[in-house]
């Protein structure tokens, strides 16, 4: 995966926060991780599979406090519990980020990417089974609503031709 491919996803996170969440997200240092386990991930994670021109996955992982703050901002509520509403919100958040990133790739003249429906994983003990040669790019974020992490991996037709 080329590191510059992460940029549309980062921009998508910025847009989501500045529009629907009326907040500002800032990114930390972009890194490469072995994402086979749950190490370094938080309490709740939303994942979406990418297929078509680019095949892989985008994942957003949130501490409970950040996830709850996102829901409260979206809905104008004052809840403090990690319930199904939080899972549903995280699914929609990753859906919006992946959708916006997909549109940015398309706007750059690349062929279409298809998105799977989102999946949400809660808890700290799980593993993500993905081909062992996959390189995951990790981006830590901070925001008015708390910190969180994005991980993205994909292979594109463009890279295969190289």
């Amino acid at each position: 995966m080329r590191v510059e491919y992460i940029n549309p996803f980062i921009e998508a996170v910025y847009e989501l926060f500045s529009t629907m969440l009326a907040s500002k997200a800032t990114r930390g240092e972009v890194g490469v991780v072995d994402a086979s386990g749950s190490e370094g991930l938080y309490d709740i994670m939303g994942l979406i599979g990418l297929s078509g021109y680019a095949r892989g996955m985008v994942a957003l992982s949130f501490p409970a406090e950040t996830a709850v703050a996102i829901v409260n901002t979206l809905l104008g509520t004052d809840s403090s519990t990690m319930d199904d509403t939080v899972s549903d919100a995280i699914a929609e958040v990753v859906n919006i980020v992946a959708g916006a990133a997909k549109a940015k790739f398309r706007a750059e003249g690349r062929p279409p990417i298809d998105l799977s429906l989102p999946t949400v994983v809660r808890g700290s003990s799980f593993s993500v089974n993905y081909p062992s040669h996959s390189i995951w790019i990790e981006v830590p974020f901070n925001s008015n609503l708390g910190g969180f992490t994005m991980r993205v991996t994909f292979e594109s037709d463009e890279e295969e031709k190289e």
Binding site: E15, L16, T19, M20, V71, L74, L75, G76, T85, D88, A89, A91, E92, N95, I96, A98, G99, A100, K102, A103, R106, A107, P112, L115, L117
Partner: protein, 122 residues
């Protein structure tokens, strides 16, 4: 006037219901996919529909086509992550009246709702 909000995300339906309330529309039904939306329109006369695109069972665009094929003229706004120009054109050709791309600012969606209703004579 009664509105229908169609989205597979319960949270997004609540967000959209909040947007409708900001446009003074408080009577709202909900549907979680295209099949439920088509069924709801058969039984109720709505003044506005907010329709997601990517949903299980039936896509939003197919629901728009089915609603138009049945002769319903209710204004429909697509509210979706599908941001490509070709998708917007497909939705308008299918019979959607306007198009909002997620993520959106709350004020933007309220303006579009008011704009669509004004054009529909509501």
């Amino acid at each position: 006037m009664k509105a229908l909000v169609v989205d597979d995300s319960a949270v997004m339906r609540r967000v959209l219901i909040g947007s409708l309330a900001s446009a003074d529309i408080t009577e709202v039904d909900q549907a979680a996919d295209g099949v439920e939306a088509v069924k709801a329109v058969e039984g109720t006369e709505y003044g506005l529909i907010l329709m997601d695109w990517n949903m299980p069972n039936m896509l939003g665009i197919d629901a728009v086509k089915a609603i138009r094929a049945a002769g319903h003229k209710v204004p429909i706004i697509m509210v979706t992550t599908e941001a490509e120009k070709s998708r917007v054109i497909d939705a308008l050709k299918a019979g959607a009246n306007n198009y909002i791309i997620k993520p959106f600012e709350p004020a933007t969606i309220v303006e579009k709702i008011q704009d669509v209703l004004a054009k529909a004579g509501g």
